[in-house]
Symmetry: C2
Amino acid sequence: MSSDSDLLVLGGGAIGLTVAWRASLSGLTVTLIDPTPGSGAMWAAAGMLASAAESHFGEEHHVALLSAASDRWISFSRELEGDTGLNIGYEQNGTLLVGLDRGDRLEIERSVEFQRSLGHNVADVDLENLSEVEPALLSTISVAKQLHNDHHVDPRALGRALLAALELNNVSLRTSPADSLTQSALGVEVTLGDGSVIRGDKAVVTMGAHTNFLETANPLPQIRPVKGHILRLQGPVLLKHTIRGLVHGRSVYLVQRKTGEIVLGATVEEKGFDRTVRAGEVFRLLDDARRIIPGVDELELVETSVGLRPGSHDNAPVVEWAEEGRVLVATGHYRNGILLAPLTADLVVDMLQDRPSIHQELFVSAHSHHRSS
Amino acid sequence: MSSDSDLLVLGGGAIGLTVAWRASLSGLTVTLIDPTPGSGAMWAAAGMLASAAESHFGEEHHVALLSAASDRWISFSRELEGDTGLNIGYEQNGTLLVGLDRGDRLEIERSVEFQRSLGHNVADVDLENLSEVEPALLSTISVAKQLHNDHHVDPRALGRALLAALELNNVSLRTSPADSLTQSALGVEVTLGDGSVIRGDKAVVTMGAHTNFLETANPLPQIRPVKGHILRLQGPVLLKHTIRGLVHGRSVYLVQRKTGEIVLGATVEEKGFDRTVRAGEVFRLLDDARRIIPGVDELELVETSVGLRPGSHDNAPVVEWAEEGRVLVATGHYRNGILLAPLTADLVVDMLQDRPSIHQELFVSAHSHHRSS
């Protein structure tokens, strides 16, 4: 059996595109298989690279991984923008955590205490100066905390840049879905929806919520879709920071881009493969956002969309061998697919080349709490 | 000067398409001029044919006109569907007027008293039986009244059917905008955006909110755009009736179609030619609708759109000669363009053929109150 490529990447989301790029840079010949690369969960995502704000109680074991992933982004974005000449909307304008009522204030104070205990730098904002820090915020919110170093990226621009990088590096693209994957001592074979067969030396499965649709001899890790509604608003630039709000106990965020776009999200729903945009969820997102930022009312509502985040059994990413030596899975990145993509790709490329990886331990320990309990 | 057609119709909204159809049936050769016929205010409209529910205080002088227009629809829809073989979503499932709080109840009782004084048949609904009459309604609303005979039509299906009828009747279509109109003793001449010139014996200007963009020797009646936000929801059929609600003093309506579509509207905004879908208005429509019909939350939000209703100085339709004997205007139909289209077309065809029209007086008296004051 002769291989078409050294590596087949099944899935063209944030992880698949990044793995394909980094693998091609490492000297491998790569084929990427995805009917619509750059769409899916990546297309809906807001692109927050928020290791501190994403540090939640009970997820202490994720913290080191998220921090390392966040640090990795700075050089990653420079390299991608440099290679392709494309802007990916990378910005470091910080995050404000704000709470509306007294209960929201107490909850934010509790989590900031926790974030500080993990070593994150979280500044108090004097509410008397709030209108200077973030003029668009409601003046009667009960608490505001500032994370100076949080950054974000535009996932759609990222997708375009990664596709351009793949083309520059001669990665082949097959836009038919991967139906089944088999492996032998000689290599791997993928049958596509159009009936064609592609052979490779090794394969990486990065199919997110669709991982379990792939037919394989041994079962892959169970991944479930976690539905999220996201709105896109447009207008003159309204916010100086990314806002993460608690509004009567409900979480809402707004990511402001320099283009005037605001990404408003996101619901977290266990509804299987339901991609329907529901009136009630759109209502709740708008309701929560306008309660803390009245100027939201004047923005144009450009898009309502749904993304399916890939969740593993414990919501930590799964990067491991499915078939020793030939087939890797890199999936289950849940809310943090964009943030983790560069680090996951580094680990995958190390594993493919049978090199020890400095990142391995971070991914393993993200699971350890749950696996040992 | 030789004419291309007996009649040039400038504008392809509800009025223009209907006038072109009826004029071609009367034996005239017709050219319709519109860059995107069937779009505009017509595309956004809900299609309520609601002479009773649209009878408001201070608009008594419209009542006879709206009633006649409503009666005319029954034969009109049969004829159009018969000629084209196309379904236009004509349905007569009645309207429920409902109010949420005590103030809403008082206001609805006042307007029902008024509607009854005008001869409309409005039935009381015993709130104890409400869940049988309309199971989707909130059980704690304060009042419900039923208009058994109200009907509605799907304006987009209507547009498609009228375009098909025009083709059957050999109406020419020119899809470049009409820039200017001149008339002489010999006929009329229209210059289009693409530089071409079309000649006709007579012309009808039915350009809605865009009427005053047409260059003419003498000014046409002033028409302003009245912005309305409209949402389209989709799901299993939720409602048995059209619902017109008062929710803490704000008006909202929901028109249910057999296809499962619900058209939810509509805001009334004096904002000039602003076509932006605003987050705040989408929020308010959803907020009001779900307060009286909780099941709205589960529907898919399929579309958010804006229409520009054409309003005259007194919001009554303007059907009159602009240049005696050659150029008619038929515009300013405001909220009632779909309802009035068949009657307006009858009047226009009579006027074009210098026949006395039984409808003339209805249109004149719709204005008389304001003109004499």
